[in-house]
Symmetry: C2
Subunit: 201 residues, 2 copies
């Protein structure tokens, strides 16, 4: 019933994660009503996304296709003996924005999740184990998500790395109260963790 | 810090209505991780959106660029003496899905809203007034949204059309309880309207 081109745009936008038919309609109609330039901008930016972005072969961060290796790794001022391990590439940018970390990163590419069919072999764990040896790493900071999958991945890494490198320091991000959240709204597990990990004033 | 192509995609997707930076990140990263075909599908569908879709010069519904006039208007089985007036083109498809209307449509292109700088002159009201005469219209059904702007647009149309065509029947969609909503959750105005418009069983 809709003009075919509009229907195609609605169907295509509906393939984005979490976008239902109504939202897709709203996006498509907005693009149609707005200046043609907007649709062109989005269209062009998506056209070359795959050609112009790739994974760093060492850290698995996302890098420009023209680069050999992640600039966060090749930067000589960064301490290669400390690796912070994250699930997804965008997690790196959350950490970088804190400006509190000067080591290097390693992206696992997800977390172990039997339900989603993600086994340890699907993650870049083997590469991490090799990096620890190759780069003479002193500390691995595990920064997986505080979810069931993230926690079990953290335990797995701890076991694997701990057995192979008994000298290696393995740490993980602190659990505790996030800023601005009322104590009474914090869940039990977070509160227990905050209590167990209390720091001296 | 992100690869430029990814950052461009995030920025571009962030221009969609209601899409903040985090959602745009999620969309862009999903497109990067998914098969290249998905990004291409969306890109191509947006590329020709403006060329392949246009407004019907009579009803202002959205039509394929190859068509002269909306097929819902040119269809000889539809009753041209009954016009249903909506704010936006997509409203037509909501009504069509009910399969309860066999007249023709007229899209205003919005509702009068002094706050957003939309005056009656910005809407296709003049064209509606002419259609009533040209097509010898018997009834105009006003189906603007039940919002402040929609209601005032409805009053304006009623005044304009009523003065010019005293014989014309002007109606609007019934107000009342929507299906599946508990009586106790209905707001006062809806409930008053439902009571005032009660029908005999």
């Amino acid at each position: 019933m809709l003009p075919p081109a509009l229907q195609e745009a609605i169907d295509a936008l509906g393939l984005l994660p979490g976008v239902g038919p109504r939202t897709a309609e709203r996006y498509a109609y907005y693009l149609f009503r707005s200046d043609k330039k907007l649709a062109t901008t989005i269209s062009e930016s998506l056209e070359n996304l795959h050609e112009r972005v790739k994974s760093c072969p060492k850290t698995f961060a996302l890098i420009d296709a023209s680069e050999e290796i992640s600039p966060l790794y090749s930067d000589p001022t960064r301490d290669k003996s400390t690796i912070l391990v994250v699930e997804e590439p965008l997690d790196i940018y959350a950490i970088e924005q804190t400006k509190s970390f000067s080591g290097v990163y390693h992206v696992l590419g997800g977390a172990v999740s039997p339900i989603d069919g993600i086994s340890p072999d699907d993650l870049h764990i083997k590469e991490l184990v090799e990096r620890v040896k190759d780069d003479n790493v002193k500390e691995v900071i595990i920064a997986t998500n505080p979810s069931v999958e993230g926690e079990s991945t953290a335990l797995l890494l701890q076991k694997l790395l701990g057995e192979k490198y008994p000298e290696l320091k393995i740490t993980r991000l602190a659990r505790g109260l996030p800023l601005g959240v009322d104590l009474s709204y914090a869940d039990q597990i977070t509160l227990s963790a905050a209590l167990a990990g209390r720091t001296e004033l």
